[in-house]
Subunit: 166 residues, 2 copies
């Protein structure tokens, strides 16, 4: 399915979530879950702050959506996420029976909706979802680039101090 | 890697977790996480009781292990689970950087460690883990068969009552 002005609007909300992650020095990925033109859950990557390898934006948003709606079947939901979901998150989106996934930039190293796997299109699994990629891709990628550049600078300064202090 | 007497012992613990799931009418799948010959976390499927599509045994056990150890990298962990992990859980085990995964019976409809995908062996991802399948497979499969047979019986009785009351 092609992107729409609706998609751009919701992806802007996911980008706001990604920015929150960046502010606490987490890799900036954000997600919102939309049902009936309303955001029912938001999430951003908290792997480091929660010390939890499952705390990706999508997992936290799916969990929050289920809590808010008090059901695990999210078959009326569209999930907006700034980075292409990994295998864990793509599998979670299948398990949650979501209708559609819209993502920002592709993930050449771990993307499991188009790039390395097409988990949402696998007819052997018990559910499939529609996928639209590349929505606000440049903004999503820029957030990630800025984050990693900043982190490299910080690491360099830290390494410099360590050498000085050695 | 071949199964060992250690593996049988830890899988028995995972089977106990699976039984707990069955007792609350959840699909009986159980999991334990072992580090340095000790169980650091336990989990069993709670999808229905938590109304959470991500609440598979492995996800709950990984989250508990991370909380207990206060770190997301579980590179010293072996994870024992009674049913072959799905894409979500296999992806989570990659994200958690676990060393090894031992499972009971295969999952022809969703298994992502051997059957449909080999996510733990994918050299394109940033981590790989060892996989040993078929440990206590018959016991694990029997638990699942008994559960589904019992559920079909209950549904039949319920449908019968509904017809009578109609």
């Amino acid at each position: 399915m092609e992107e729409s002005s609706e998609d751009l609007k919701w992806m802007d909300e996911a980008l706001k979530e990604a920015e929150k992650a960046g502010e606490i020095e987490e890799v900036p990925v954000g997600c919102v879950v939309v049902v009936d033109q309303q955001i029912v859950a938001r999430g951003y990557n908290k792997r480091e702050s929660l010390a939890d390898p499952t705390a990706h934006a999508e997992i936290l948003a799916i969990q929050q959506a289920s809590r808010n709606l008090q059901r695990w079947r999210l078959s009326d939901a569209t999930v907006y996420v700034t980075l292409e979901p990994c295998a864990m998150c793509a599998g979670a989106l299948v398990n949650a029976r979501v209708a559609r996934v819209v993502y920002g930039c592709s993930d050449p190293k771990g993307g499991a909706c188009d790039t390395l796997y097409q988990i949402g299109q696998d007819t052997r699994l018990n559910h499939r979802f529609e996928v639209t990629g590349g929505v606000r891709a440049e903004e999503a990628a820029q957030l990630l680039r800025d984050f990693f550049r900043e982190r490299r600078k910080k690491n360099k300064r830290r390494d410099g101090r360590e050498v000085e202090g050695a």
